[in-house]
């Protein structure tokens, strides 16, 4: 078990390192190179001559270490990251970490809130549509979720703000009250954005769970549960859900990643001072340290969720934990002499074993 955790941690670390290289490197891909923003800065509202501007650029380049070789710059940056320095915002001259600290709370509230709503609403509905898939109500709900998936966040946010905020005055259309002002006022401002953001993830959860639940409900072991006279609550929750929930757990990191993107739009519309608006401002102002820092943070969040999801799966599913005791023959013609099952592939093959097939493939 410990080896699984260790291996998985290593993979996450490597992923993040690769990520950091890409994040750091994109700056060099833009026209003008990393010096472009400094050139802009230098020309901001001053009436320098070309020569003076050039000297200013030179001085700033040296100051920001842009003359050193790229890998040294990268190393310095990475070193800074590990020490908690993400650089200084070109725009506000404040350390990036400070800005993140100030704006973190509302964004996290939005993301976690939307994630919780999508799970608390999506899981029961996903189960229900699977259990009642032969009735009209189940099919209708599933169809609705299909429409729900295609709703664009931006559009929905604007509509909600307009209808519930400006027209009906149920919630404020814009604005934000931090938790320090009390839970009531905070929720009053946050409910609409959270619900808006959660619409699409909820639909994803419903459809995914419906899919895996339907499959599980058809499986031989669920039939055994029915044949032994277990009450339906036990069959659905203890027997079926434990098997069906796996794909949802692997879905969560993907939802988080898409929520990170959705946050940007929703915060913008509802005017919430979170990381989303921060990144929009940073991009508009070509504030590279800020952008870099925020993207890196996003990467870390997704990597952490991925790691947690993988570890949760290995806790829930004992087959993944120990590798597989039985072998599936995946050795095909072209050089694949080793029939080494990928983690989970053998497990999936076990679940889908057709009734008439004998147990051996050896």
């Amino acid at each position: 078990m410990l080896t699984t955790i260790a291996k998985r941690l290593l993979t996450s670390v490597i992923t993040l390192l690769v990520c950091s290289v890409l994040i750091f490197g994109y700056r060099y891909l833009i026209p003008g190179g990393p010096a472009a923003d400094i050139t802009n800065l230098a020309e901001l509202g001053t009436s320098m001559t070309k020569a003076q501007a050039a000297r200013q650029v030179q001085a700033l380049s040296v100051r920001f270490g842009l003359k050193k070789p790229i890998y040294v710059q990268y190393w310095n940056w990475l070193d800074g990251v590990f020490h908690g320095h993400l650089g200084t915002s070109f725009f506000s001259q404040a350390p990036v970490t400070t800005v993140i600290g100030q704006r973190m709370a509302p964004s996290f509230e939005l993301i976690i809130g939307a994630l919780l709503v999508s799970l608390l609403v999506g899981v029961p509905l996903g189960m229900y549509t699977a259990i009642r898939r032969d009735r009209a109500i189940g099919r209708t709900l599933l169809a609705i979720s299909g429409l729900q998936i295609s709703v664009p966040d931006f559009w929905l946010a604007t509509i909600n703000a307009a209808v519930f905020g400006l027209a009906l005055h149920w919630f404020p259309a814009v604005g934000y009250q931090p938790l320090s002002a009390g839970l009531g006022p905070n929720l009053h401002t946050m409910i609409l954005p959270i619900l808006t953001l959660s619409i699409v993830p909820t639909a994803f959860v419903i459809r995914h769970l419906n899919n895996s639940m339907t499959q599980v409900l058809r499986s031989p072991y669920v039939r055994t549960c029915w044949a032994m006279g277990l009450p339906s609550r036990q069959v659905y929750f203890n027997c079926a859900l434990r098997n069906a929930v796996g794909p949802i757990i692997t879905l969560i990191p993907l939802l988080v990643a898409s929520l990170l993107g959705g946050t940007v739009l929703v915060e913008y519309i509802f005017n919430i001072p979170g990381l989303g608006t921060a990144i929009v401002t940073a991009v508009e102002n070509q504030d590279y340290p800020m952008t870099q820092g925020l993207v890196l943070l996003a990467g870390v969040i997704v990597a952490v969720f991925n790691l947690l999801a993988d570890l949760t799966i290995s806790v829930i599913d004992p087959r993944v934990r120990k590798g597989s005791a039985r072998i599936s023959d995946v050795g095909w013609r072209f050089g694949a002499r080793r029939a080494q099952p990928a983690i989970g592939l053998a497990a999936v093959a076990e679940v889908r074993e057709p009734a008439a097939v004998r147990e051996d493939v050896v």
């Binding site: 072991y221 055994t224 549960c225 006279g229 027997c239 098997n243 008439a356």
Partner: protein, 333 residues
Amino acid sequence: MHQGETLLTVRDLRVEFPARGGVTALRGVSLALQGGRTLGIAGESGSGKTTAGLAAMGLLPPGTRVTGSIRLGERELVGLPEKEYRRVRGRQVAMIFQETSTALNPVLKVGDQLRMATRAHFPGSKDDVRARIVAALESVRLTDHTRVLRSYPHELSGGMCQRIVIAMALSCGSRVLLADEPTTALDVSVQEEILALLRTVVAERQLALMLISHDLAFLADLCDDLVVMYKGQIVEAGSAQSVISSPAHPYTRALLECIPSLHSRRGTLPELREYEAPSAQGCGYRHRCPWRADPCLEAPALAAVAASAERSARCWRSAEVLRQSVTESESVV
């Protein structure tokens, strides 16, 4: 031949699936299960043998039309509401299927699954439940209880998994056991073990066992009585030994003939003619029957053969067929 008490009686059972354009899976099936005896149901796919088992368990898909009677002791099962059926399943009648290792939940330990099933019918103390489970495991000759209870299904062999499912049925207390192709997915040697196990369990606990299979040799070994089904009807019934040694219905004869035998290896196996949809009138088998004659345009009923109360066949010429079979078996001996 010892007459145990009759535990399950099926009378004129008819099952229709209206969803699939009105497919009639069972057309008037009647049989009885007695404690301490094994009834074999032989048939190929489409014969309705599995449907009969599922009907008794109430596990047919919603929307299926079931008419007739299935009596379990005093209780009538046809039309029983789902809530009450749940108390019957497992406790009064249990079913085991062809799938062996996939019949158990892969993410739960075997012990947890046994506990869940037992407690659904015997909600006693932890010790009581454990005692029941251990007794059931003993019956199926799984002596290493602690290890088995702690294992996950994928760590156990197919044969062991099938024993555990049988143990689950026993632990739930049912006296009627329906087994649908329980050993088809297992090796021949394991098949023998499970066969022997079922024989012992039936005798020890005086269970009524209904064994559904397409393998006549397997049924011949274990069953006391045998019923042969074809396209939703019983075409022959009687003691297993007599039906197999001297069949009285052309279909039973054909089935027995087209099984390759180990010691009399013939060149070409006799084949049944290609299947055609049975017409509404007349005997459903006549298109493929080498004994076809004029009376067959009228559907025969399941009638006693040759004044024997123990055997019946659904054929106008069953007496002749029986005579022929007897002559052949005598000439072999």
